[in-house]
């Protein structure tokens, strides 16, 4: 599936997706060889849309987010593919150009609010500096807006709390501050990497609601990375399921949840405990996700797949249409090709 090597012509905003990731590959050179952590990952995010990215630990979700925002940690590097923001490539930009995009056009929310905020600076200061860097406003204006943001994220008595330090807030409140920080420069896209995982369950719902509401109000698109399918169900419009560094299913969230196409997604759904219906044994998917250094040829899920057949271990499947979603699975191969192999 080789793409033509011509730069995209400039097209009006409405005709290209806000974010397009095409065949993105990320690798890590190690002393035992090169590990491919992301293997030709492709997806798009439209303006104002919420794309959920779900998968087990180590599937490559956070790496995808890091690569998009240009904060891949050494020695990791992008080894192939492109990332396009509103039609223009951003993976080849200089450090300085990328810096201007970060915060202003693409924001980020990280997992642990305790370590994400600098303990030695007040929240007001951290908000103000972000806005002043990107929006060029005065100190007084920045302070005014900072109070406004604290109010928007639901922190009581914002005018007083502006001078408080991060450790003076509880976990949930801190994450609200982080959300404010991610949104205060008014980005078009926010990458939220496990925003609720470090929080108490009772708080998680509040934070998710907050994120949803703010995203809708400001028209911000979101890439919501999590291993929690419940959060995705609540919040996302579309969902991408990742496994071993690849996307194995991509489609509207209702569809993927109710009628998962890929056997892995099916297994994921089945393993979620539910109070409805018969309470029986939890199903689990046998085996474990392969280590990056030992990904089998063909489909990476083949060793654990209940529907595996000969083609699965021979060739690697790309995303292909499977009803209303897309799945990387030979079960959905176009009929003619299928008949020839089975």
């Amino acid at each position: 599936m080789a793409l033509p090597e011509v730069p995209l012509p400039e097209v009006p905003l409405l005709e290209v997706p806000l974010l397009e990731v095409r065949e993105l590959s990320v690798e890590f050179p190690t002393r035992r060889g090169v590990l491919k952590a992301l293997d030709t990952v492709s997806f798009t995010i439209e303006t104002g849309e919420v794309l959920g990215v779900v998968g087990e630990s180590g599937a490559g979700k956070s790496l995808t987010g890091a690569a998009i925002i240009g904060l891949l940690e050494r020695p990791g590097r992008i080894s192939g593919g492109r990332i396009l923001l509103e039609g223009r490539r951003i993976d080849t930009l200089s450090q300085e150009e990328m810096r201007r995009i970060r915060g202003r056009r693409i924001g980020a929310i990280f997992q642990d609010p305790l370590t994400t905020l600098n303990p030695l600076y007040t929240v007001g200061r951290q908000l103000a500096e972000t806005m002043q860097v990107h929006l060029g406003i005065s100190d007084a204006e920045a302070r005014r807006r900072a109070v406004g943001w604290l109010e928007q994220v639901g922190i009581p008595a914002p005018a007083e709390r502006i001078g408080a330090y991060p450790h003076e807030f509880s976990g949930g409140m801190r994450q609200r501050v982080v959300i404010a920080l991610a949104l205060c420069a008014e980005p078009q896209l926010v990458i939220a990497d496990e925003p609720t995982t470090a929080l108490d369950v009772s708080i998680q719902a509040q934070i998710i609601t907050l994120i949803k509401r703010l995203a809708r109000e400001h028209g911000t698109a979101m890439m919501l990375i999590t291993h929690d399918m419940g959060v995705i169900a609540e919040t996302a419009d579309r969902v991408a399921v990742m496994y071993a560094g690849r996307i194995v299913e991509l489609g509207p969230v209702r569809r993927v949840i109710r009628h998962p196409a890929h056997p892995y997604t099916d297994g994921l759904m089945a393993s979620i405990p539910t109070l409805a219906g018969r309470l029986g044994r939890l199903t689990q998917i046998e085996g474990a996700m392969p280590r990056l250094s030992a990904i089998p040829p063909g489909c990476p899920f083949a060793p654990r797949c209940p529907k595996v057949f000969s083609r699965c271990t021979a060739e690697r499947p790309e995303l292909m249409a499977a009803g209303e979603t897309a799945a990387a699975c030979w079960l959905y191969a176009p009929a003619s090709a299928e008949a020839a192999h089975v």
Binding site: R31, P296, T313, A314, E315, R316
Partner: protein, 320 residues
């Protein structure tokens, strides 16, 4: 994009090679990172040469500088090669008594190493023991022991060593020469145990909360046994790094104490004593009596420091 057709089911993990302990060491991350770092390898080689050369001093030194019968004042103050008046028999020159500098350095180096090593061993054993007990026992015992360590840490180690050495020497006035080496080892060792104790105590407390320790206690294994056989191997990593760096510090401390005159006596000198001795001849131009022992000391300490640095980086999981 198809993968080449596999012969059968996907290959399993590569067969684990049957390696003996030596083989495992050479296959380990530690050895790999050692091979990757030219600095570490050179430092390791130099340290090895120093240590080897010093330990075998009695066998391979060209002269015995401390056998009074072989010394002759006519040999005194011979400058090193390639200056005027030098001789091949004494490549690094001789001192005021006609002692060969090269041999004196080898013997002195041996003594410096022995003292340094013993002092570190002392500090390690005492520090690790106290750290284990404090970390495992917890409560008042821990509080008291750590308080002692903290108080001692408010004072610089060199000062403590100096004071202990000075006091004990003054008290044992007559026995000075015979016991000096023990006094110095004790003084330096006792001044350095707190860092070991604190580190081990921290690690012990972390390990104590882990399941394998709880499992051992449930089975009924006694406290001391748990500390020794279960916890100790797991906390030794950082101890090794501290010990290596401490070795360099101990050698320098001993040299300093000897230089100040409260260390090893001139009859059985360490490198520090040699440097002190040579100091008197700086202004009269016989610089080699001080400079060469000094250089030997620096080379030895530098290579140990480099090894310690490398070891710390190699064992630090977060830097990988």
């Amino acid at each position: 994009m198809s993968a080449p057709a596999a012969a059968g089911p996907a290959p399993a993990q590569p067969l684990a090679r049957r390696l003996g302990p030596l083989g495992r060491f050479f296959d380990s991350d530690l050895w790999y990172s050692f091979r990757q770092s030219p600095v570490a390898m050179i430092a390791g080689a130099v340290a090895f040469v120093c240590i080897f050369g010093s330990l075998l001093a009695s066998w391979i030194a060209p002269h015995d500088p401390f056998n009074l019968a072989t010394l002759s004042l006519s040999n005194s103050f011979i400058p090193p090669i390639p200056m005027n008046g030098s001789e091949w028999a004494f490549p690094l020159g001789t001192d005021e008594q006609g002692r060969d500098m090269l041999s004196a350095i080898m013997y002195g180096g041996r003594l410096s190493l022995v003292v340094g090593f013993s002092a570190v061993l002392f500090a390690t054993v005492v520090g690790v023991a106290i750290g284990l007990i404090a970390g495992y026992g917890g409560g008042t015992l821990d509080a008291v022991l750590m308080r002692v360590a903290d108080v001692q840490l408010t004072f610089p180690a060199i000062l403590i060593a100096l004071v202990v050495d000075g006091i004990v020497s003054a008290a044992l006035h007559e026995l000075h020469e015979a016991t000096e080496i023990y006094v110095i080892v004790f003084a330096i060792g006792i001044s350095n145990w707190p860092q070991f104790a604190r580190t081990v105590r921290g690690s012990t407390m972390v390990e104590r909360g882990k399941e394998y320790v709880m499992a051992a206690r449930v089975i009924g294994i006694s406290g001391p046994r748990i500390m020794l056989t279960h916890i100790l191997p797991n906390v030794l990593g950082p101890v090794l790094v501290i010990a290596t760096i401490n070795l360099a510090v101990a050698i320098v401390s001993e040299a300093t104490l000897s230089f100040l005159g409260v260390g090893l006596p001139p009859t059985d000198p360490s490198l520090g004593t040699l440097i002190n001795n040579g100091n008197s001849y700086l202004f009269s131009g016989q610089w080699w009596i001080t400079v060469f022992p000094g250089a030997a000391l620096v080379i030895m300490v530098l290579s140990i420091n480099l090894l310690g640095d490398w070891l710390r980086d190699a064992l630090n999981p977060r830097l990988k």
